[in-house]
Symmetry: C2
Subunit: 203 residues, 2 copies
C-alpha cells in the first residue's frame, strides 16, 4: 500500500510519487471530501504532464476538472455544454481533442459501455483498469487488479491471441444504493452464473 504522500514531483526524473485517491480506496462515499479528489487529480495531472514534457493547457485542465466534478462518467456533449457555460467557444472537436490528450496521458478513462469518460484514479500508471459502475447513482470505482489482467492475458495467450487492450466494466448496484433499497449484503444475487468454463484453458 502506498503511503499517504500528496503529489510529489521530480521533474524530468521519470519518477513520480503519487497519493492514492481517497475516494477510490473503497466505493466513493456520499460524504467524502470530493474537493480533495479534484485537487489531487489536478495536481497529479500537472505533475505527470510536466514529467513527460507535454502541455496541460488551460482547456485540457478545465476538461479534466469538469470530468472530475464527481465520480460519474460524463458524456462528451455534457463536457461541451459546461465549456460553453464558461463562455468559451467550443465545438465537439474541442472536447474530443482534449479527451484524446487526457486519454493518451492516462489521466482519464473511457467507459465504453456508456460512451462516457471518467477521471483516472492512478494517473501515470499504465493500466486499463476495471470499473464498477452503479446503475442507480451512476458512480464508478476504478480497480486495478493486476492478477485479473494476468489471468485474462494468459488465457488469451493460450488461444494464440495477443492482448493489447482490456475493457472490463461491471455494472450493478453500489453498496449505498443497495442499502437505500433495503437489500442486504450478498454475493449471490448475480445473473451471471458460473455454470461452466468452456472456451478457456483449465487453470
Amino acid at each position: 500500500m502506498l503511503s499517504d504522500n500528496i503529489a510529489v514531483l521530480f521533474p524530468g526524473s521519470g519518477m513520480l510519487l503519487v497519493k492514492q485517491d481517497p475516494g477510490n480506496v473503497t466505493f466513493p462515499k456520499n460524504n467524502h471530501d470530493h474537493g480533495r479528489c479534484i485537487a489531487v487529480a489536478l495536481d497529479k495531472a500537472a505533475a505527470v504532464c510536466m514529467d513527460r514534457g507535454v502541455r496541460l493547457t488551460e482547456l485540457r485542465r478545465r476538461v479534466l476538472e469538469i470530468i472530475w466534478q464527481n465520480h460519474k462518467p460524463l458524456g462528451a456533449y455534457s463536457i461541451l455544454e459546461q465549456l460553453r457555460q464558461d463562455g468559451r467557444a467550443a465545438a465537439p472537436p474541442t472536447v474530443y481533442r482534449a479527451l484524446e490528450f487526457l486519454l493518451e496521458q492516462g489521466l482519464v478513462h473511457r467507459i465504453a459501455s456508456m460512451n462516457a469518460f471518467v477521471g483516472c484514479s492512478r494517473p501515470g500508471h499504465i493500466s486499463d483498469g476495471q470499473f464498477l459502475i452503479c446503475r442507480s447513482c451512476g458512480s464508478s470505482t476504478e480497480l486495478n487488479d493486476g492478477k485479473l489482467e494476468k489471468v485474462i492475458t494468459r488465457n488469451s495467450g493460450s488461444l494464440g491471441f495477443t492482448v493489447e487492450h482490456l475493457t472490463i466494466e461491471v455494472s450493478g448496484l453500489c453498496p449505498h444504493c443497495r442499502r437505500a433499497r433495503g437489500e442486504p449484503a450478498q454475493y449471490s444475487n448475480c445473473p451471471v452464473s458460473g455454470e461452466d468454463s468452456s472456451g478457456t484453458e483449465p487453470t
Copy 2:
C-alpha cells in the same frame, strides 16, 4: 465438454441440447466452413425461440443472418444498409428493435467498445461472455469463462458491489494476423503489466 450434437429441440420442455459452434472452439480459422456456422446459428435461434414461445419473425431472422455473415461485430447502420439492399423498407428503429429482441433472447451480443453486434456462440445460455477482438482483421471469439466471472463477482462483492452485468472485451491480435506479421507466439508482449493489485481483496 459438450458432445457433438447438432441443434436438437424439445419444444416446450424448457430443455434444449445445442452444439458447440465449431468456429469458436478456437479462434475462427480463415478457411472454416462458415456456412455451417450460419446454419447452426439460425437453427439454434429457431429452437430457442420456439422453446420460449417468442416469435423469430422473418425480419429478426434476417437480421440475425446478416450478423452471422462472419465473425466480425457489425454496426447497426451496416445491418440497416443490407436490409435495404434486400429491398425492404427499413429505418434505424427497424434494426434496433430487431437487435433488442435478439439481445433479450441471448442470440446476439453487443460489443460496447465497438458499438457493434455479433452472434452469440451459445444461444440459450445466460452469460455475458468475454470477447477477443482482433484489431487487424476484426474477427471476434466469444469465451465463457465461469471462473473469471466468479472471481470478478466475488471481488466486487467484497467491496459491497452487487454485479448485474459484465462487459469484458479484449482487443489485440489474433493468431492468424500475428502470424501474417511474422511475429512469433508469445505471452508477454502485453502493455497491461501486472504491476500491482490495489483496490481488490487479496485472494
